[in-house]
């Protein structure tokens, strides 16, 4: 088996807040292959963005190792470190904040090309800028070169962000809620563009989103990971996860999503939680952190033992209910 492009090996990240420690990401294991799409989904505060930032090298891990092509990124130095930093690029959520408003589109895209020596001479740089704009479907490029970010729509700006990320020929993209601020009608075209790039350049993508339907669509051939309070609770091929969710949290999430079909959405079976309150990251529940809300709570085992992520029916699931046979009626 080829070396995965990114491997998370028992990765944990803590933050100090007001002299207290919160664990944003807790013991996450994950391998991402070349050319693979992985979507991380979960609610705010589940650690999906922190995970993305650690993979991009923006935040160091507090414990555990992150491997880029087999090498621990915290130990890389010199050219090896530079290779990693260029190889993994990030696309941010807000295209209104991530582009310098005082620079033209051409300047924004040309800067990394020149700085990292990807092009020699001004003619070559300009050629490459045009080519990149065409790659992200901003055509004809001449219409965009001299514009400033405020003259573009949100969707167009996000395409510029992608073009900028591609300047340094990365092999891995971390896209954090990259389409959530873009109009509904043009989200799909942005995602299609990313898919096309993935196929053409063999890119791997870690796509962070809160929208499971979008994740299923984008990660069609890839996988979806569901996070809850810092832990990966289910990891499964995208369509399998949506059609056969095994973790009770995934099941609750899927049942809560409204559908754009009046008949279906009004008769959809909803799963009730035991509690609506999301536990504070400062005082995480013991054992399985979902147990105070879990509709399939088993009792003591859930309160005391943290379930490991283990294989179950074509997926990886961290739940005692899944790994243990259901108790017989007499025990209930």
């Amino acid at each position: 088996m080829p070396t995965p492009i990114i491997t998370l090996d028992h990765v944990t990240r803590t933050f100090s807040v007001k002299r207290q420690t919160i664990t944003a990401v807790d013991d996450v294991n994950l391998s991402i292959r070349e050319g693979e799409i992985i979507c991380l989904v979960g609610e705010s505060g589940c650690g999906k963005t922190t995970t993305g930032k650690m993979i991009a090298g923006v935040l160091p891990a507090s414990a555990g190792r992150i491997l880029y092509l087999g090498a621990d990124i915290s130990k890389l130095t010199g050219t090896e470190r530079k290779k990693f930093r260029l190889g993994v690029q990030m696309i941010h959520q807000d295209p209104y904040a991530s582009l310098n408003p005082a620079h033209t589109i051409s300047a924004i895209i040309a800067a990394p090309l020149r700085h990292h020596g990807f092009t020699q001479g001004e003619t070559q740089t300009q050629q490459r800028v045009r080519k990149l704009l065409e790659t992200v479907d901003l055509t004809p490029p001449d219409d965009f070169l001299d514009k400033y970010p405020h003259q573009l729509s949100g969707g167009q700006r996000q395409r510029v962000s992608v073009a900028r990320a591609l300047t340094v020929a990365p092999s891995f993209l971390v896209a954090d809620e990259a389409v959530s601020m873009v109009d509904v009608s043009i989200r799909i075209s942005l995602l299609n563009m990313l898919s096309k790039l993935k196929d053409a350049m063999g890119l791997s993508v870690l796509f962070i989103t809160h929208d499971l339907a979008l994740a299923k669509y984008f990660a069609w051939e890839g996988r979806i990971g569901v996070m809850y309070l810092g832990r990966l609770v289910e990891l499964s091929p995208a369509r399998w996860l949506v059609e056969h969710p095994q973790h009770p949290y995934t099941q609750v999430l899927l049942s809560a999503i409204p559908e754009a079909d009046p008949e279906a959405t009004r008769h959809k079976k909803r799963i009730e939680l035991r509690s609506m309150d999301v536990p504070s990251l400062l005082r995480l529940p013991t054992g399985c952190s979902f147990h105070p809300r879990c509709p399939q709570f088993l009792g003591e085992v859930c309160e005391q033992v943290t379930p490991a992520l283990v294989e179950s029916d074509g997926a990886m699931v961290a739940c005692h209910r899944v790994t243990r046979p259901a108790p017989r009626a007499t025990e209930l």
Binding site: E43, V184, S189, A213, K216, Y217, V242, P258, M276, V278
Partner: protein, 340 residues
């Protein structure tokens, strides 16, 4: 029975340095008593402007250039008609909250951060000469329970002590304090997590069932409109381009924009082939294209679309659309999708 709210030929503009932003253009529609109507459209389509216009909360740069918003009072004796756009002073204050309440998108900013929830209720009640003291507390307790909050937990809390979903539910409870007949909800679940959104949706459905108010629901999320409302108005570039029952909107849409919007939203059940995006981007409201404002993005565009703007016409009773090609749009776009 007459509709509770009739918007008639309403146009609203903003003055901007670049020129006039025509946010609402000649919009007319009714909200029946007890009915929930959704205004769906993308950001910048003018839907929030419409809501703000009804309660006269538009910013200073906005101007109502034509039209009326007729509200029909039904309480306190004989029914009477008022144009909400003409209200001033005391009459306006009475209309807001007592007749019509609006819940805004950002619950964090809508509550006064230095007042306890109890004081926010007391303030509103006092300003309107409503219940006080123990009677107010009892009424608030009842409302907080209706939105599935624990009154003991919430009553003495400051807004920052509550989660986003709790604050949003406090606002909904507060908006219902004076028993308004019409509730305007502007993106009430945006920026909330899936499970919190589910909880708010369940609360709203429950409230509609228990209290008999009319609802104007402003959202960009088609699925929420599908779940909560009776009728849907699709707004594009400041104009209603389709108006139909919720079933018709999702099963037999006739306007290429509505069809495109439905096809652009991924669903849990759908396959990859079901999805397609609308080319181009929403128009600049200062320099709008001539003719139908959707024509630069429409797959069915013809020369007529570039010159004349279509008005709403009846497709069948209760279903109106503004498109020159509505007769063939659905069929043409279905085949279009299979080919493309």
């Amino acid at each position: 029975m007459q509709p509770i709210l009739s918007i008639q030929n309403l146009s609203i503009e903003y003055r901007a340095r670049r020129g006039r932003v025509r946010a609402i253009r000649n919009v007319s529609f009714d909200v029946q008593r007890g009915e929930a109507v959704a205004l769906i459209g993308e950001s910048g389509s003018g839907k929030t402007t419409l809501g703000l216009g009804i309660v006269q909360l538009l910013p200073g740069t906005a101007r109502v250039t034509q039209g009326r918003a007729i509200y029909r009072r039904s309480r306190d004796g004989a029914p009477s008609e008022i144009d909400t756009l003409q209200l001033k002073g005391r009459a306006l204050r009475e209309f807001r909250w007592k007749e019509c309440a609006m819940v805004f998108q950002s619950a964090l900013n809508a509550l006064n951060p230095v007042l306890r929830i109890s004081d926010q209720f007391a303030d509103t009640a006092q300003a309107h000469g409503y219940l006080q003291g123990r009677a107010l507390h009892a009424r608030a307790e009842e409302l907080l329970k209706l939105v599935r909050l624990d009154p003991d937990r919430v009553w003495r809390s400051f807004p920052h002590e509550l989660s986003g979903g709790m604050r949003q539910r406090v606002l909904i409870a507060l908006s219902l304090l004076l028993e308004p007949q019409l509730l305007i909800l502007d993106e009430p679940t945006t920026a909330l997590d899936i499970l919190t959104q589910r909880n708010i949706m369940d609360v709203l459905k429950d409230l509609r069932h228990k209290l008999d108010f009319s609802l104007l629901f402003i959202s960009h999320d088609l699925a929420l409109a599908a779940e909560l409302t009776d009728r849907v108005a699709t707004v594009y570039a400041g104009k209603i381009v389709e108006l139909a029952s919720v079933e018709t909107t999702f099963k037999e849409p006739a306007h290429p924009y509505t069809i495109g919007l439905i096809n652009a939203v991924p669903t849990l059940k759908g396959t990859k082939e079901d999805l397609s995006s609308i080319p181009g981007s929403p128009p600049d409201l200062v320099e709008m294209p001539a003719g139908c404002k959707f024509h630069p993005r429409c797959p069915l565009v013809e020369s007529r679309c570039k010159e004349e703007e279509p008005e709403l016409v009846e497709v069948k009773p209760g279903h109106q659309t503004a498109c020159w090609n509505w007769r063939s749009a659905r069929e043409a776009l279905q085949t279009h999708k299979v080919q493309g």
